[in-house]
Symmetry: none
Subunit: 133 residues, 2 copies
DNA sequence: GTATGTGTACTAGTGTCTTAGTACACTGGT
DNA sequence: ACCAGTGTACTAAGACACTAGTACACATAC
């Protein structure tokens, strides 16, 4: 490919109240989730993106580092950052902890809307059949 | 009712890294979501809980205030704090839509961590057994 | 080895979050 | 009116989150 490696357009909204580094993370996650960014593709360079967004390089680094920690991105000193092959290199224990955190957070959230654990289970089982099997 | 009004047992883990007030919120939300706390039931008093948890009253207040803001709890100066009747004056259709949005959003979130709907269902059913029910 | 492009480390300022100390105000029963 | 129980307001200290400034280190091509 001699085309531009990363057409990924990241923009940040200084008025949103969401930290810059987190806005970067979110947009990269989205790009991966919806297929715009594929495995092996290079992300914008730290400096390049920093200049684009008029932000400190460290802010970009912070975003990339968190993505790397999650296994979504691989960084190579001197070379660049790339979308990595997402292998869930988590132990079962870690997996269980993460799931617990996620689910409990969600349960709390839905209680604010007046829903119950029972409601979710019902919905999910229905949902499973629906997308079915 | 002359029985104890709030058998709700709240505990906080100082080592978890989760703010005290947030741990309180989470546990109350969970209790509501899973049915241990029902509408009208009194929450532990601000001072009582503060003493129990060896925490400043303001920390408890902060938790209750956020819950009140969300409509989950009603507090009455001088009287106490209670689980409020969450009327979302929503039609069944709206309710279903909201639940659908919430759950689907959550499902896409957990998929990015490699979890499945099955994982959630399993976790939730286990959880329900665990708390008695 | 030099140049240029890449990521990294160290430091520090600013603001926000979290919690506590303390004193005040409301409610209901006596 | 009083009292004991309840929530509330004001203040401030400490920890942490976020961002920036600046200098350093690695990778690759020439």
């Amino acid at each position: 490919m001699d085309k531009k490696e990363h057409e990924l357009k990241i923009i940040i909204d200084p008025t949103s109240g969401i930290p810059y580094y987190r806005q970067i993370i979110l947009q990269i996650e989205m790009a991966v989730a919806d297929g715009r960014m594929k495995v092996g593709k290079q992300l914008p360079t730290v400096r390049g993106l920093a200049v684009d967004l008029q932000v400190n390089p460290n802010t970009v680094v912070r975003a990339y580092r968190e993505l790397e920690f999650r296994g979504l991105v691989t960084t190579q000193h001197g070379t660049g950052s790339f979308i990595s092959d997402i292998e869930m290199n988590m132990s079962d224990v870690e997996r269980a902890q993460v799931l617990s955190q996620l689910v409990r957070g969600f349960v709390s959230q839905i209680s604010s809307y007046g829903f119950t654990v029972e409601d979710i289970i019902t919905y999910l089982t229905d949902y499973q059949e629906e997308i079915g099997l």
